[in-house]
Symmetry: D3
């Protein structure tokens, strides 16, 4: 069973509304290598695990738990980017020529303005809905670990590319955090395969990005977040039997299981009248 505390795993840094940035950031939420995929893939691999080497099951489940809060983080980031992006002035607009949501005609995902009230969707940067066929639970430990390694590597790869698409601080803060966490998870699966006999040499991290170019990543690396696995279990776990010792990556350091980080407040979004998105107010107009 799953428990919750209303805290985000990282902060939402305010910057100006940016629907085009929101559109491409959807890839990190509902894309083939986004957080919904990692969450569901590790959920299925955890439940479908066979055999008694449960230290690996605990490793996969441990990453799964963090991914649920990553989904929540990206949803909130997209909402921040979309909020106030339509020029809202009153319930409905009415004016002859006014078209307060015309932003959606330009570089936005129009569904951000039609299907929801300027809010996140389970789709990718191209607007394609998330698809269950992207979840792999092969039922063979090595195949699953290798697949997870590709998943985390591609996660970093795509996030660094999205990072370079916009200098919006809201977008970059979240991506910076997730890039470093994906590296930690890349280390988790690389280390698991190391315990099965692989020597990775200098292969990881993939991609081999220069930390100096990503200031938002740097602070997390300095906090050691690339070598830490947060533990969200309320009971015992064998995760540290795998996630320990020297990092399998060229970036060195010691792998360490720690308690979850300090949480950040979940933003509260205002009513959005011309999206007809009131809460109770609608009843009393």
């Amino acid at each position: 069973m799953y428990y919750y505390k209303e805290e985000l795993i990282n902060q939402i840094v305010p910057d100006k509304p940016d629907p085009a940035a929101a559109k491409v950031l959807q890839e990190a939420l509902g894309g083939q290598f986004g957080e919904m995929r990692t969450m569901m893939q590790y959920s299925f691999q955890s439940s479908n695990f066979r055999g008694n080497a449960t230290q690996y099951r605990d490793l996969i489940r441990g990453v799964f738990l963090e991914e649920i809060s990553h989904v929540e983080l990206v949803q909130n980031t997209i909402n921040q980017l979309l909020n106030d992006s339509g020029k809202s002035f009153g319930v409905g607009n009415a004016g002859i020529d006014a078209a307060p949501l015309d932003e959606a005609l330009k570089h936005a995902n129009p569904h951000h303005f039609i299907v929801g009230a300027q809010a996140s969707l389970p789709v990718d940067a191209g607007g394609n809905p998330w698809n269950g066929s992207w979840v792999y639970s092969h039922g063979n430990l090595i195949a699953d670990l290798l697949n997870n390694l590709v998943l985390e590597s591609t996660g970093v790869l795509q996030k660094t590319r999205i990072y370079e698409m916009s200098s919006n601080k809201t977008l970059r803060e979240t991506l910076g955090f997730l890039i470093v966490r994906d590296n930690a998870h890349q280390n988790a699966f690389a280390k698991a395969l190391e315990t099965l006999g692989v020597d990775w040499g200098k292969l990881f991290p993939v991609p081999n990005y220069d930390i100096n170019k990503y200031p938002e990543c740097r602070k997390f690396v300095e906090m050691g977040y690339h070598n830490i696995q947060f533990n969200f279990r309320l009971d015992d776990t064998r995760i540290a039997e795998v996630y320990q010792g020297a990092s399998p990556s060229r970036n060195k350091g010691q792998l360490l299981v720690t308690p979850p980080p300090m949480g950040f407040p979940v933003p509260q979004l205002p009513d959005m009248p011309n999206e007809h998105s009131p809460g109770l107010q609608d009843m009393f107009v």
Copy 2:
């Protein structure tokens, strides 16, 4: 952030392997009205919530938290139904005519035997992958609540139909539990609309099933599970401002928020050699 204790929200009752039952039970996991849909729909509605009537946000999020453990419960139930359904005798089979996985050619979902090692998948009873376009987060409180009401009603409707497809105890215990919990969630959203002025008369529950015909449901009804909302929050929640008072259904009773139920052990599945699903053993053959 999300926390976890390795306990199932209901028990897995053993019965004989039954891949045909596993195939149709997938609807309750990866179908349009299955637990993945409820989980993701309430996740998006929670993060995308607008306005300060956060008692409704807490209600939606409260149901979301329980749905994560429903996903886990159905995954484990399907795995129990599939386990040992191929006649396994050794690593590979080799014999001239033996075809230990030929079950997959008959009434099973063949992907249960090919894509995974006799384990759950994010697909529906027809084998269609789960699809993000089934998640609705309209961004208007009333529209969201009405949609959730349809979702929970259809959840019960479909589960009673699947219940009547097989007398397998593994399948029926899980469905019995989920039917009653869906009723509790139907009450949650019906009650929320009642606070906005609706009088449902005798409309609910939908469907209006006879509890005497579903013995697996009866025990949960006797425990009051149809009028209880479990609280998985580790911090404060306003959920009881909505989920309280007389039930909006003909089945009467008082709505009550309670702590989570006692948990049940998560089964450990054996290695499955002719699916090439070993854990560590593969390394030492």
Copy 3:
């Protein structure tokens, strides 16, 4: 605007319930070459028509109008094949071992028993949902006419194949009628291309089936239905400027526009208690 009289375009011949037949007949409703495709394809081509050669627009629209009633006919035929296919005895079943809907575990489309109450769905014989990408409105008259010709030819081809899958009279009567009507529509588009200069020689009909092998078709051929286009317009139409003269097929005869055929009653389906498919009764249990 569209008007309606509650009459089916052909009769529903009763025979025993047959969910396996219902499953494959879905191809004729929601398959790539089924009636939903023809209906929507001709709808889009009618509205999107360019230029003043409106005799061709009227031809396409004329076929469109008939396809709406074909959709209704196949829906009703599938319902007839499914009705009573679960052994229904009372509201819910309750018995320890009874599983009145277990038919769905065998050769049926399980969604026929889960998603609806033993009723038709917008899917094909494999259970794949109907898809808008199958509708072609190329916007070039010749390309559209050629595409329609392939569509009608493949319609006959697939229906003759489904016909040979079951000797169920409910299925065969509907297919027999539709095969002959598809031939009439094949003639419509072949003739339209003939007016643009093509001489088809002995190419049509495609496929070149032997009418003696399809007794359900024979009666309709004897009524001349393969050379008739029904006119469902309440106003004037130029359709007969194209649909007239010698048939473009080897089967000869003269093409003729006539009033619609005599209609047949639309069946009324009974309540289905263990599908929780009551109408009003549910309110008074």
Copy 4:
């Protein structure tokens, strides 16, 4: 069987070409809550109806019939918005640098210029094809009515949002008409549930838009179109047994079944040479 008179259910108001508006208006045609969905959902619910409370079947079918003409209306509106949006000068363009269809590279749906000849498509505002899995025919009267209520409410919600994306009169006139008609259909299903015992209080209309902000809606409200159901039946119907009496919405008034409205001419689109969309001319170049 279905009959037709070549008249649109509302007028097409001319304004300047606007491919970006056409792109988002596709949501109202091929989106999850668009007219193709309502048309097909009510078609399936009509044919799949169980039980003898046929006044509800007649209600659902009555709305279905109107939706066919809504599909036609939106197709024609999109065509009007697209027409002349490429700068057409002769058959083909040839010039060294001219690119008369380059509009498609900007804010348009490129398929409007490639797949068809600047004409409507069965896709949504994001370009996703219409999908049969969006059609719900649950086979339980209450579940179907609740689902239809959500469908019509979301239909209004999305259309008011699209309305605020563009001040183009062609787009706004059609949306204004459809918003009011969706309200009438919302009333139809709300009323049907009222006959089953629900008292909606002040819940409807959803969303609770201010008519003063939508001048294109006002004229239809003044004609009472929000409380009227048009009757397209050529035979008897029991629809008025349900659709009668006081409106279930706060907007008050009496529900009334009336004959169809006066029709409007279906526009005739010109040839579009650089789309190679001639009719007969192609043969004589």
Copy 5:
């Protein structure tokens, strides 16, 4: 078995980077009437061919072989259009405000910058992934030939429309070549049907484009490429039993089977550091 020589079937003409052109050109690669479809459709029809009229099998297979190199040609053209379209300056970018891949936020397909490193994808102009349901292998010779004729005609139709969207020389050269080759394949299938008795009159080519408007096509027409079928077989083939004699199109000429054309070099793309697309360099940073 299939053999290869690293040569493109036509040249890549350099012009400036143009991601918007790359986006729409995807239709010719991964669209419903693009080169992946023709390649796979003829592959399936070749393997699934029934009967001993193998001259038609050889015709279909002959076209199939050329389509593999068309796929390669369009992939390389898209890559050329995308290359250098992000302003690349070093590994990562880092600067406070720099966003070197922000092109992806505007008129590009964002997946061109996220999923791959500014390179081709198996999707259409709207970003929808290629889908196997678009491949038709009806198993009836006439139906297959008619379908192929529609496929090639629509191929030309769509390519002429894409041609008019951009004056970029890279795009136009490839389209010019493919338009003429599609005409040759249109002739192939029209001729095959002619051998079965059809007289096409003046129907083809479809569309009836004016060669004077497409200078990039003219040179290939002057080389006779519209009436030639290249032979990529290393063994005997009966293709010339069908592909010979007078062209079935108004453009006249004699059909001729010839050896493949002279090949062109396959471009070598540079490393793309801010896409993290190095080859070996990544290992030595």
Copy 6:
């Protein structure tokens, strides 16, 4: 450009018709880890390759070329399994009760009998169409190689599972061949990563199947096919710079590039009258 010799890369061993086996074997053709995926993935990676380390490009392209003939091999195997599986007696069947294609109602994929004439389709074992979103061309050499390694490993894993579903010799011979060839390709990508510094220890092969249990594999292993890469290039290639030296797998041996194997005849399928699948005969009935 691509050349062809009409020879299969392995033999088709005759056995009795088996539509259920054909259904599951589709996974190896149109499934997520089937031959269409490998073919298209390596096609895109070859064309999209960046940088001058072309020995890796030649390796990927070399595997791509073989995959085209794997597609052809599986298509022909499925056709052999389906051929004669309907009891064919004459053109059409006509008899009152005969239903010669009723096999499709049981354990077959019904589309094998409806969409084609008992022939292969671009779908997986569950009937889902092949999808372009399964093709990964990440544009980062290491990510691409790791992904390919997962792809080949899962290819073997799934094929050994399908092998155990049926003792049909037609199915097993093809799978035996492909399993060994997938191992060779697993070696190819594992070796490529070895050249970048990885030491795999005893990780491969994945899965670690016992060759003694797969007699159809044994003969190919004895011929060394697990360590050989066939060279289908008609020009020079640098593939042997990577594919050489000690195998990276526990099965040892030396990697070697060799000419293609001896080819086998492509079967010729008979006409199938009650599928209306004649070639020329249809014209003269």
